[in-house]
C-alpha cells in the first residue's frame, strides 16, 4: 500500500524551499553538471547545470527549442547525453533507460500523454510499472493513491472515454504509484481549465510538502510565479539564469527567455461593420468518429471586422465544428443554411467551393492537413491559392506561385532554406507562420484558425496574433479556436465557449474573466442566453 515517504505533514511549499535553501547540509536530490547533447542540426543542450533540492518546485522555462524537453529526456533516461554528469542524492549515476530512472525514484508526466486509448486506466498504469500484472490489487492501489492526492479516477474506464484533465490524472497517478522522489512535469497545464490548474497546483504543493522534488516545465510565466520557488531559464540550449520567479517578475523572465523585450500589440477599437460574414444557424451534426463529440444546435455569428474566439478543452466538439465550417464534413443540401458564408447557404458545399466564397482555413494539424509534408512550400502555397490566377488553361504559372510563396515567407519571417524547401523540413513554428501567411495573404472575407500559436515560440506567436488583428482591422471576419485562454483574452472582440458539443453565449473579454470562462468550459453556462441568429442583425451579444 502507498505510504508517505516523509513523516512530516503537508507544509507550505514556500516554507519547504526556505528550509532547504538555508540548510546548507541538505544534499541536492538531483544535480546536473555540464550536460551537453548535440543533434545533427542543433546543439540542444550546451553545458547545462541544474540543482534541485528535496521539496523544491523548480521551474524550467524557455522558448520552444530552448532545450528543456531534451534535458528532461536525459534525466528520465529516454535520451543519452553526449557529455556531462548526473548526480542523484550526491552520487554519480548513469541513467540509460526510463526503467533506471524509475528505479531510483524519478517519475515523468509527458506533455503529449503516453497513454493507450484502447486500454483501461489500470492497464495503462500497469504498463509503466515493473512486475507482473495483477488487476485487482493494482485497482485498489490506484484508488487509494488517487484519493490521498485528490485525483479521482476509476481504474476500470477506457482511456478514450476520459477528458484531457482525467488523462493527465492517469499519468500523474502512474508516477505517484512508484513513490517518486523527483517528479518531472512537462507543460502540464496547457490542456487544463483554470479550475483544473488550481487543483493540480494543490496536488503538486502537497507532494512537495511531503519532500518530493518537482521539475516544472512551462512557458506560462504567471503560473510559474504562482507555483515555483526557483526557476532555471534556458535559451538556445544554455542556461541564461537561475532566479526566484516571484522576485524577477514575468517581464524579466520573458527577457531572459527570448533575449529581448516582448513586442506589444496594437489592438485598437473593434471596427465591426455589422455585416454577417460567417453565420452558424442551429448547426447539429453527428460525429463520424465513434470517439468524437456530436454538435448540438450551434448558433453564432462572426461579423466583418471582429475576432471571435472559441474557448474550450480539446475534445469538446472543436474538431467537428471546424470540419463543419471548413467543408471537410458537408451537410445534406436540405440543411444548407446551417452554415452561411457572406449570406450564402454553404453547409452543403465541399471545402474547395467554400474557399471560392472567400473562406480560408488554418487547421490545427499542420503536417498532413495544413500542408503536404514532402511537397515544397511553393507547391503547398499553390494548393489553396490556385484560384487566385495561379493556374491558366490548366497550366501552373510557376513564377506567380513562387512570388506568392516568397511574399508569405517575407511577410511572416519564415525561416527556411527557400521556397523550394520541403514543408516537413521546417520547424513547427516556422511552418505555422507559413500556413497562416498563405491563408491571410489571400485577403479572405472569413478566416478560420485553429490553435494559431500552438508550439510556436513567444516572438513568433506575438507576430501571428498581430497579423490576425491587422486582418480584422481590414474588416475581415476572424474566428479563432484556441485552448490558450490568455491568447483569446488578448486578441478577441468576443469569446464563446464550446463544451460537450454545445456553444455558450458570447462575452466581450472586458465583461468577463478567466474564472467565468473556465466555469463555462466545464459545461456550466446559461442555456437561455444562447446567441440568437436573427435576420435583423440586432442580437450581437446577449
Amino acid at each position: 500500500m502507498f505510504r508517505r515517504r516523509f513523516s512530516a505533514g503537508p507544509r507550505l511549499p514556500t516554507q519547504a524551499i526556505k528550509l532547504t535553501q538555508s540548510d546548507s547540509s541538505t544534499i541536492p536530490r538531483l544535480e546536473l553538471r555540464d550536460i551537453r547533447k548535440v543533434y545533427p542540426a542543433v546543439v540542444a543542450n550546451d553545458g547545462v547545470n541544474l540543482t534541485a533540492y528535496p521539496g523544491d518546485i523548480h521551474a524550467i522555462v524557455g522558448e520552444n527549442g530552448a532545450g528543456k524537453s531534451t534535458l528532461m529526456k536525459i534525466v528520465y533516461g529516454v535520451t543519452k547525453p553526449d557529455a556531462g554528469e548526473i548526480r542523484w542524492e550526491g552520487e554519480r549515476v548513469r541513467i540509460n533507460r526510463p526503467a533506471d530512472a524509475r528505479k531510483i525514484g524519478i517519475g515523468m508526466v509527458f506533455q503529449h500523454f503516453s497513454l493507450f486509448e484502447t486500454l483501461t486506466v489500470a492497464q495503462n498504469i500497469a504498463l509503466g510499472m515493473e512486475g507482473p500484472y495483477r488487476p485487482d490489487e493494482l485497482s485498489e492501489r490506484i484508488e487509494s493513491v488517487s484519493e490521498h492526492y485528490g485525483l479521482p479516477l476509476d481504474p476500470r474506464r477506457l482511456v478514450h472515454s476520459l477528458s484531457v484533465g482525467e488523462r493527465q490524472r492517469v499519468e500523474i497517478v502512474r508516477c505517484l504509484l512508484q513513490e517518486p522522489k523527483l517528479l518531472i512535469m512537462d507543460e502540464p497545464t496547457s490542456v487544463l481549465t483554470p479550475q483544473a490548474v488550481t487543483k493540480l497546483f494543490d496536488t503538486l504543493r502537497r507532494l512537495a510538502g511531503e519532500g518530493c522534488s518537482i521539475l516544472y516545465i512551462s512557458h506560462k510565466l504567471e503560473e510559474i510565479q504562482e507555483l515555483c520557488g526557483v526557476a532555471t531559464v534556458m535559451r538556445r540550449g544554455k542556461v541564461t539564469g537561475v532566479v526566484d520567479p516571484k522576485k524577477e517578475g514575468a517581464a524579466g523572465l520573458a527577457r531572459m527567455m527570448i533575449g529581448r523585450e516582448l513586442p506589444a500589440y496594437e489592438h485598437g477599437e473593434p471596427v465591426s461593420v455589422r455585416e454577417e460574414r460567417l453565420v452558424l444557424d442551429r448547426l447539429s451534426m453527428t460525429s463520424d468518429d465513434p470517439f468524437g463529440t456530436d454538435l448540438k444546435d450551434i448558433s453564432f455569428t462572426v461579423y466583418g471586422g471582429e475576432i471571435v474566439g472559441i474557448a474550450g478543452i480539446s475534445g469538446n466538439g472543436q474538431q467537428e465544428l471546424l470540419k463543419a465550417i471548413s467543408g471537410e464534413a458537408p451537410l445534406p443540401a436540405s440543411r444548407a443554411s446551417a452554415v452561411r458564408i457572406d449570406g450564402k447557404p454553404a453547409a452543403h458545399f465541399d471545402a474547395d467551393t467554400r474557399r471560392d466564397l472567400g473562406l480560408t482555413f488554418v487547421p490545427e494539424e499542420r503536417l498532413g492537413r495544413g500542408v503536404v509534408p514532402p511537397m515544397s512550400l511553393d507547391e503547398n502555397a499553390l494548393l489553396t491559392t490556385y484560384r487566385k490566377g495561379m493556374v491558366r488553361y490548366g497550366l501552373i504559372d510557376r513564377l506567380r506561385v513562387r512570388e506568392f510563396a516568397e511574399q508569405c515567407v517575407q511577410d511572416f519571417d519564415v525561416r527556411c532554406a527557400g521556397t523550394h524547401a520541403a514543408a516537413k523540413s521546417l520547424s513547427g513554428g516556422n511552418l505555422q507562420k507559413f500556413i497562416v501567411g498563405r491563408e491571410m495573404n489571400q485577403k479572405p472575407e472569413v478566416l478560420v484558425v485553429s490553435q494559431p500559436t500552438w508550439g510556436v515560440d513567444v516572438g513568433a506567436a506575438s507576430a501571428i496574433r498581430q497579423a490576425l488583428i491587422d486582418l480584422r482591422n481590414e474588416r475581415a471576419a476572424v474566428l479563432v479556436v484556441s485552448e490558450e485562454l490568455d491568447e483569446l483574452f488578448e486578441i478577441c472582440d468576443r469569446i464563446v465557449v464550446i463544451a460537450q458539443g454545445r456553444i455558450s453565449p458570447a462575452r466581450k473579454p472586458s465583461e468577463t474573466d478567466m474564472e467565468e470562462i473556465g466555469l463555462w468550459m466545464s459545461g456550466m453556462f446559461p442555456e437561455s442566453e444562447t446567441v440568437k441568429v436573427s435576420t435583423s442583425g440586432t442580437s450581437h451579444v446577449a
Binding site: V78, R97, P98, T118, L119, P132, Y133
Partner: protein, 307 residues
C-alpha cells in the same frame, strides 16, 4: 445421416486448422503493429520444408518442427528488412510471398510424388467412447489439439498477462511504449517471428496431415484468406476461430455438392469458401467502435527509434 454429418464436421476441423494456425500467428504480428503480407509465402516454405524433412527422416514430428523453423526464418528475413532497415512493410511482405512461392516450388521438385504415412489420431481414454462427441472432440489428430491449445494460450496471453498488454501497447502507440521503457523493436521481432512460425505450422498441417502430399502452390490463397480473417475478425482470437472453421466448413460442403453432381461449374463452387467467409465476417464486424477498440493503431507504420 449422423455418420455423414460427423464426417463433414471432422473434415471441417481438418480444413480449418491450417487457417487457425496461420491466422492466429498473423494476429499476433499485427497486434504488435507490423503488417506482414507474406503469410502465403511463409506457409508454402513451411509446408515444403516440413514435408521434405518428414520424407527424409521418416518422422512427421521432425517435419513439424522444421516447418516452424522455416516459417520463422522467413519472418525474420521480413523483420530484418522492415524493422532494422525500415523498408516498406507492404512491399516487403509482397516480396516475401513471391519469394516463398518460387523457392518452395524449387525445393519441392523432388518431392512431388512422395507420400507420407498418416498421423494417427489420439484417442483420449474413455472420452473418445462417448457417441458422436467422442469422435468429434476426443479422437482427433495431435495437431488439431495443438491448435486448440494455441487458441487458448493466445487468448490468455493477450488479455490476461502483462506481456499481452505490452504487445497491444506497442501496436497502438510505439512512441508511448518507448517512453515507458519498453523495447519496441525487440517486441516486434518476437511477434513477427511468432507469426512466421505459426504460418509455417499451418503450411505443415496442409502438407503433412491434410493432404498429405506436396503440390506446388498447394496453399491456394489460404495465406491471403488468413490476412483477411485477421482484419474481419477485428483482431480477436475467438472470431478468428469462427472464420477459420467457416472457411473449412464451406470448403467441405462444396466438395459434397460437387459430388452430388449439381449443375454448377466446379470453378464457381470452389470460390464459395472465400466468398462466404469474407461476407460473413464483413457482416459481423461492421461496428466501427469495436474496430477502433481492437485494431492496432500503428499497423503498417514503421517505427523510427529516437536518436
Amino acid at each position: 445421416m449422423t455418420e455423414t454429418i460427423v464426417g463433414i464436421l471432422l473434415a471441417t476441423l481438418g480444413a480449418g486448422t491450417p487457417l487457425v494456425f496461420a491466422t492466429l500467428g498473423e494476429l499476433i504480428t499485427e497486434k504488435s503493429g507490423v503488417l506482414n503480407l507474406g503469410v502465403e509465402g511463409m506457409m508454402l516454405i513451411g509446408a515444403v520444408c516440413g514435408f521434405a524433412a518428414a520424407a527424409e527422416s521418416g518422422s512427421l514430428w521432425f517435419g513439424v518442427v522444421i516447418s516452424m523453423f522455416a516459417g520463422g526464418g522467413m519472418a525474420l528475413l521480413f523483420g530484418i528488412l522492415t524493422l532494422t532497415f525500415q523498408a516498406n512493410q507492404v512491399a516487403a511482405g509482397l516480396a516475401l510471398t513471391i519469394f516463398g512461392i518460387g523457392t518452395s516450388a524449387y525445393i519441392g521438385l523432388d518431392y512431388t510424388s512422395v507420400t507420407l504415412p498418416n498421423i494417427d489420431p489420439i484417442q483420449l481414454p474413455f472420452l473418445s467412447d462417448i457417441p458422436v462427441i467422442g469422435r468429434l472432440l476426443f479422437s482427433l489428430d495431435p495437431l488439431i489439439y495443438l491448435s486448440f491449445a494455441m487458441f487458448g494460450a493466445i487468448s490468455w496471453f493477450l488479455y490476461r498477462t502483462k506481456g499481452g498488454l505490452v504487445l497491444r501497447a506497442v501496436g497502438e502507440s510505439p512512441e508511448s511504449a518507448v517512453s515507458l521503457g519498453h523495447h519496441v523493436i525487440a517486441i516486434r521481432y518476437l511477434a513477427v517471428w511468432f507469426g512466421g512460425a505459426m504460418a509455417g505450422l499451418g503450411g505443415a498441417y496442409l502438407a503433412l496431415v491434410y493432404t498429405p502430399l506436396w503440390v506446388e502452390e498447394m496453399t491456394a490463397g489460404r495465406g491471403w484468406i488468413a490476412l483477411a480473417l485477421v482484419v474481419f475478425s477485428t483482431w480477436r482470437p475467438s472470431r478468428v476461430m469462427v472464420g477459420a472453421y467457416l472457411f473449412g466448413g464451406v470448403t467441405i460442403v462444396q466438395f459434397h455438392i460437387q459430388g452430388f453432381g449439381v449443375d454448377i461449374p466446379s470453378q464457381l463452387l470452389s470460390t464459395l469458401p472465400y466468398l462466404a467467409t469474407i461476407l460473413v465476417l464483413v457482416l459481423i464486424s461492421r461496428d466501427i467502435h469495436t474496430i477502433r477498440l481492437n485494431a492496432p493503431a500503428s499497423l503498417g507504420k514503421p517505427y523510427h527509434p529516437d536518436l
